[in-house]
């Protein structure tokens, strides 16, 4: 068997694996002192890997030429789109980390651990494999590589109890979800006799018996945990709150993209012949996520917990695109993912930039009172992000909801769309509360510290993307998303 074409297809992953291993060696000898240059090197490696994706993204990639290693991996336009997003999000998470870990916000250690960039790179490799998996084996490998790195990342502040708690919770519940997923996979294997997506799909055609149906449900439940969709969302607020903020920013973006993309691939490529079986599950999950994500956030005082609920709420809208179960819906979902990554990254960066004069991070609504007077630039940026998350035009967040609901209505799911969009108004309540606290309340009198250039750059970039100027991106964005969605449906 000639492996050269296969290796060529996974060149970005190879680059990242090489970079990760090299960084591991640097970490072993250089120690924590080397952490900052390592983060820069890791970001450069991710950027390089992203650069390798450009030709494929530009030309579109479908067909048998995208299969690697005898069909274990499939590097089509869909995988490329998801990977590009994942790499961008990971670069963001690396950019904001050094300033955070060396400040008082990181507790008593005040040092960035050399493992951080290494773990981010390995988690990214795992996600890369997840989104290009074409076999349940490679799917699980990628998923676990990502998850194990993520558990450690959540607990990376070793002397901070909350961080440890977050890591432990994430690990225990994550292991449970992996177990559920594995159980579902084993059921599917037992009933269809294969682990590759094509084999399982072939085995699932015709009328669905109870056995494989259980397999489908268990697989979906395991994946729902990974994307933190209701009713498997309980871990999200705790982990988001406890994990160090740069890690939270990472969790809220890259693994979400990977897990959503993976779910989309599984439901369309593996369960594509059984749309009726999973569509109602996804519809329920989507609606429940929108409603519970919105209701749960209302009482929150902690900003990170609030953003955790906001991400659950957003996952609901993303799943709305999935529930439509056609190509337009998948494309809308990808557009939403891109905009969601920009919005979440931006909001977490803004939170990271809000520190008092001792360097401790702002955590609650009480801390950010009157922010528009004390730190106007950050307050205005956060205002944009919040209105954008609420989906108010002319910000780009509206466009993401626009495409998803358009796909929903065009597919004839009008009542479903109407309920979902009415529920989105509940979400608007707490987003405008954010604005109210920053703009309408009197300043809390807390002195705020300085922020570094990397943060400003990321904040400015994400704010620019979600500003009305971002609409100029939409033609090329929807073009890319259409290509990616088309490649997903080519197999069907």
């Amino acid at each position: 068997m000639d492996f050269a074409p296969s290796f060529a297809l996974i060149a970005p992953e190879l680059l990242l694996i090489g970079a990760g291993l090299a960084l591991l060696l640097v970490a072993a000898w250089g120690g924590d002192k080397a952490a900052r240059p390592m983060a820069i090197a890791a970001a450069a490696a991710l950027f390089g890997a992203g650069f390798l994706l450009v030709p494929g993204l530009h030309l579109g990639a479908d067909g048998p030429a995208t299969l690697a290693f005898g069909g274990l991996i499939k590097v089509d336009s869909f995988a490329l789109f998801a990977k590009a997003l994942i790499y961008l999000a990971a670069i963001g998470a690396l950019m904001v980390a050094p300033a955070f870990f060396t400040s008082a916000a990181a507790g008593t250690e005040r040092v960035m651990r050399a493992e951080y960039p290494v773990l981010v790179v390995f988690a990214t490799v795992g996600m890369s494999i997840m989104v290009s998996a074409n076999d349940f084996m490679s799917l699980y490998l990628g998923l676990e590589l990502n998850s194990l790195s993520a558990y450690v990342l959540a607990a990376i502040l070793r002397k901070d109890t909350r961080s440890g708690e977050a890591g432990l919770k994430y690990f225990v519940l994550g292991a449970l979800a992996s177990g559920i997923l594995l159980y579902g996979m084993s059921l599917l294997y037992g009933f269809t006799g294969g682990t590759s997506f094509t084999a399982v799909r072939a085995g699932l055609s015709g009328e669905l018996a109870y056995g494989p149906l259980f397999g489908v449900i268990f697989v979906l439940a395991g994946l729902a945990f990974k994307i933190s969709a209701v009713p498997f969302h309980m871990w999200t607020p705790d982990v988001y709150e406890g994990a160090p903020t740069p890690v939270t920013a990472f969790f809220a973006t890259a693994p979400k993209v990977a897990a959503v993309a993976l779910t989309a691939r599984v439901v369309f490529e593996v369960f594509g012949a059984q749309i009726a079986a999973w569509q109602q599950i996804v519809m329920f999950t989507a609606l429940a996520s929108i409603i519970f994500g919105a209701l749960g956030a209302i009482g929150q005082e902690n900003l990170k917990r609030l953003l955790a609920y906001s991400s659950i709420n957003n996952i609901g809208f993303i799943l709305l695109g999935l529930a439509v179960a056609n190509q337009a819906g998948a494309s809308a979902m990808l557009v939403y993912l891109f905009i969601y990554v920009a919005m979440s990254l931006g909001s977490f960066v803004a939170l990271l930039m809000l520190r008092d004069d001792e360097g401790a991070l702002f955590e609650t609504f009480a801390d950010i009172r009157g922010l528009s007077v004390t730190r106007p630039a950050i307050a205005w940026a956060l205002l944009l992000f919040m209105f954008s998350l609420a989906g108010i035009p002319p910000l780009l967040g509206f466009y993401s909801k626009f495409v998803v609901f358009q796909a929903t209505v065009e597919a004839g799911l009008i009542a479903f769309g109407a309920i979902a969009i009415a529920a989105s108004v509940i979400g608007a309540f707490y987003y405008i509360k954010f604005v109210k606290v920053m703009f309408f309340d009197e300043p809390a009198g807390v002195v705020t510290g300085k922020s570094e250039t990397g943060h400003w750059a990321l904040l400015g970039l994400t704010a620019l993307i979600i500003s009305p100027l971002g609409y100029l991106l939409t033609p090329s964005l929807s073009d890319l998303a259409d290509k990616a969605a088309a490649s997903l449906f080519l197999a069907v």
Partner: protein
Amino acid sequence: MEGLPILSLMMLVPLAGALACLFAGANAARWIALGATLVTFALGIVLWSNYEIGGAQWQFTEKADLFAGFSYALGIDGIALLLIMLSVFLMPVCILASWDSIEKRVGEYMAAFLFMEVLMIGTFAAQDLFLFYVFFEAGLIPMYLIIGVWGGDNRIYASYKFFLYTLLGSVLMLIAMFWMVAEAGTSDIPTLMQYDFPAEAQTWLWLAFFASFAVKVPMWPLHTWLPDAHVQAPTAGSVILAGVLLKLGGYGFIRFSLPMFPEASAQFAWLVFVLSMVAVVYTSLVALVQADMKKLIAYSSVAHMAIVTVGLFAFNVQGLEGAMIIMLSHGLVSGALFLCVGVIYDRLHTREIARYGGLAINMPYYALFFLLFTMASIGLPGTSGFVGEFLALAGIYQTSSLVALISTTGIILGAAYMLYLYRRVAFGGQVNEDAAAMSDITAREWVMMAPIAAAVMWMGVYPESFLAPMRADIAVLDARLAAAAPASDAQLAPGTPRAEAANAVTHDSAAEEGAH
């Protein structure tokens, strides 16, 4: 003027001004904002003078495919032209009204108003369904900030209520828009205005649009956000809210609900009539007992807008024209009344009617302006209010005499609460010393009031200037509605016309008499 994208330019000027204001100091921001709004107003005059009456239905059209899913398409007809003129005319007045009364965060305040202006012009000029929605909905952000940051004591409650009410109304409309675009295959508004949707779908679409516009207008019982928002907003915020934002609802009916869903509009005409009749009587009575001036005028707005909706759903030319004129007139008059409240609020910092009295003695010019606007609000002949209300009620009389009868009580009740307000504020003895010590209006306030007063008189004495640009558009709309118009209850039975005039002298018989 050929080729100059004047509508885009009219949006670009305030946009640039807004961005400049964000970074400018307090005083510079005031002048930038005034300059930007005046330039936009000047452009508006150029727009009006170049508008060809009797020309193409859609003029000054621009189109660019900038976005995926919808296009940047602008263009106006006579209806949009007049509403744009109203917006750009009120804007400099709003800036002047906030000149001294806004002291904190002036740059951001002026920027919010200029953004508002961009969005209002955009809403009236949009020719793409989704572009319209973007502008329509985006206005929530600046208005939320204006009420929340610079509003009165209970501003937070009012701003939440305003935001969530309006948002809930409009998201359902968005779903309907998706359906329409999927059905018709285009998001171009002029095309959709001629598209015949299936009658049973129209019912749902009409209701979804109604949810949005009824909140905006606002129609009873969805009006409760309005008194709160008005009372808490700063003066200029109230002016723009009453002057233009409420008109978005009426504009929505005239641009979307009526031409796109004529059958459903006819089907639901009685729903609109009943809600409007309740609004006319109920909110007028509520206005009568208000102790807060702003609240009184806010309730009077609900009553006036109810006559607008009655006129719109009369399905005839008089009703439509009357509704449009009331919208323009109410935009000017209620805006001016809020300014009048603002003038004395700036001096005494209370909106309570009982704290004033006898202002005609120490503020004669103020009392004069206030009287003019009071009369215009009542609908005295010679003012703009008369023309609009007369036409609208004449229109509805052709459709239903009952609705006409009940709506007309609005004029009587309007006279009651406005005159009662005026008597308590301007006439009588000077019961409060501090109110008696207030100085008359300043030069700045003259500059604010005089143009509005002139416009009110102009519209009252020679409404043809305002009726002419939209006549053709109303005729097109009327023709579109004609097939669906509900049956009239007037039961007009035309008799056989007499052969000669009633006072004609019967020469034949006279001749016969003479012959005898």
